[in-house]
Amino acid sequence: MNWLLSGDYPRSRVLAALLILVFVGLALAPFVFPGTRALNVAAKVAVFILLVASYDLLLGYTGIVSFAHTMFFGIGGYGIGIAAAKLGPTWINLGLGIFVSSLVTLALALAIGLLSLRVRAIFFAMITLAVASFFQILASQLSDFTGGEDGINFKLPELLQSRLVCYYGVLVISCLLYLVLLRIVNSPFGRVLQSIRENEFRAEALGYRTVAYRSVANCLGAFAATAAGALYALWLRYTGPDTTLSFSIMIDLLLMVVIGGMGTMYGAVIGATLFVVAQNYLQDLMKLAADATQALPSFLQFVPGLLHPDRWLLWLGVLFIVCVYYFPAGIVGRLRR
């Protein structure tokens, strides 16, 4: 167990319990939660745990705020999508798609890293926003290649056509890559990253070339995001701008990583699970609450409005802000106290 978790224990009974719950839930989802909707939620949780963890590597461990993460997510998805649709749904073609995605990711991550890690955080954030936006435009404009706004629907190789097999494939790979990330942040490399985040001048003074470290971290995070994108595309058998590149996904990522807990890796598990489940089921709960409050007197009529199911993002946004101020290490940090 020590080797598996790379020495990074949950350090809280409640957290450990929650993590086990999530893991068991995901592992047994097809059997415990009947229906396609539940399985979709579970697959999305599995993918997003990996995606959020990759973002935590950047934000929580290295202190980089980047708005271009969804771009890498999209590259992974489009790699699979284009390969499967244009070349045919064989394992070799999928492998080719992943390979090309990785190259593109590497090139872009290096470019972004080397170019902008030399500038102030704010400048970097804005530039990544512009780059991500540009990529999104590119994806929707090059419709012959990328399917434009509609995206690409494609078939999968025979083995993956079984929903069950596909699900476990996604879950297992996501799990493995997550554990790899866990290993990375607990390695000497990861510790240097953290020291850079704490105090960059000191790290430079101690001889670490911070730009190099941050560039590597940037690339690793980007790779993991690309992998997540590929997995998601495989599950959905579809890839398109709104499932991968849209800014709302970027915002969702931010919410997940902060609420779950920045710089903890386990925060990714908690945050992703909480968010995706809320996204799908909280709305039902809110509808109940909204209906229940319809009968309130007129001066409280805004209450049903606030509880309207479409407003679930409002509450998560408030929770997010509260976390930034008072719980910088999110739920995980709170549980560990």
Partner: protein, 324 residues
């Protein structure tokens, strides 16, 4: 006093450079006016953000919220005064627009005041938290707009006397765009005068360069911060209304959608420079319209290409200001 004329000159240079690409001169005129109008509106939306960043070292990612809120506030007023808006008299139209613009600036300014005191003050100096917190604020405000004004897009027709175009020779120029240019110029002129000719403006310009030194000279400049923030927010609200009437619709996400363009403009202009923001906005507006005509597929990406070109020439923007 030596002013750096090169960036300003880029505006007419770009306009002239577009001539050979647009063989039909009347079309060129139309596009140029359209570009200038768009640029003016973007300038109004962006100027507050660059000044706030330059002076207070705060990047308010929620700036888009002020744009949306301003637009919605005005929309409410204009819908209430529908009669005056639809009347065929310019006076009646303006009598409806004036309170709408004021309402937009007031509500956006109020929201700005709330933001500065409650949301941003606790995280002065911490850029990471600022980015996160203001993003959160943007999400929350957008949702609250839905709560107050409903989830649908509200159509916002232009006032009756400002619809349609006027013919100058063969060139058709939209009336509304001419108004936008006038309003934009008025705003820019006002800012220029305040910044250049008043002691307040002097303090702001000095503060953008070196806040510490201004304090060492005995000015409680932090008290100015709130005022500048509120003014910047009010301007964003004004820009929002003008833009909404240009698009003829109001949606909760409109502010957020503009953020990318606004960031591009203030990066091109130089963070903290109002003049740079003005030039940058005009360049972006012109580019978008020219390229939109010549090569529509490239239009959306043209801003970003422009930004890259400018940064290659001047890495800190057209008019870099003190704080690096």
């Amino acid at each position: 006093m030596k002013t750096d004329w090169i960036p300003i000159a880029l505006v007419p240079v770009l306009a002239v450079a577009a001539l050979p690409l647009i063989p039909n001169t009347p079309t060129w005129v139309t596009l140029t006016v359209a570009g200038l109008a768009m640029g003016m509106m973007i300038f109004m939306m962006a100027s507050g953000l660059t000044l706030v960043f330059g002076l207070m070292d705060v990047m308010n990612f929620a700036h888009g919220a002020f744009i949306s809120v301003g637009a919605y506030a005005a929309a409410s007023v204009l819908i209430a005064m529908k009669g005056d808006m639809q009347a065929a008299s310019l006076a009646a139209n303006l009598s409806a627009m004036a309170p709408a613009l004021l309402a937009a600036m007031a509500l956006a300014g109020l929201l700005g005041w709330f933001f500065e005191r409650v949301v941003i003050r606790p995280v002065y100096g911490d850029h990471l938290k600022q980015i996160l917190v203001t993003m959160g604020g943007l999400i929350v405000v957008e949702q609250l707009i839905h709560v107050v004004w409903g989830p649908d897009i509200i159509p916002l027709p232009r006032p009756a006397t400002l619809t349609g175009s006027v013919l100058f020779g063969d060139a058709a120029i939209e009336r509304y765009r001419m108004l936008a240019v006038l309003v934009g110029l008025a705003v820019f002129a006002a800012m220029w005068l305040v910044l250049g000719r008043t002691k307040l403006g002097l303090l702001i310009r000095a503060g953008v360069e070196n806040t510490e030194m201004v304090e060492s000279l005995g000015y409680r400049i932090r008290r100015l911060f709130v005022g500048v923030f509120v003014a910047g927010s009010a301007l964003a609200g004004l820009g929002g209304v003008m833009w909404a009437m240009y698009q003829e619709s109001v949606s909760a996400g409109m502010g957020m959608q503009m953020m990318v363009v606004i960031f591009i403009v203030i990066i091109i202009g130089g963070l903290g420079s109002v003049g740079g923001c003005f030039v940058g906005a005009l360049l972006v507006g012109l580019m978008a319209n020219y390229i939109g005509y010549v090569a529509p597929k490239l239009a959306l990406g043209s801003n970003i290409l422009l930004m890259v070109l400018v940064l290659l020439w001047r890495p800190r923007g057209l008019y870099p200001v003190g704080k690096a």
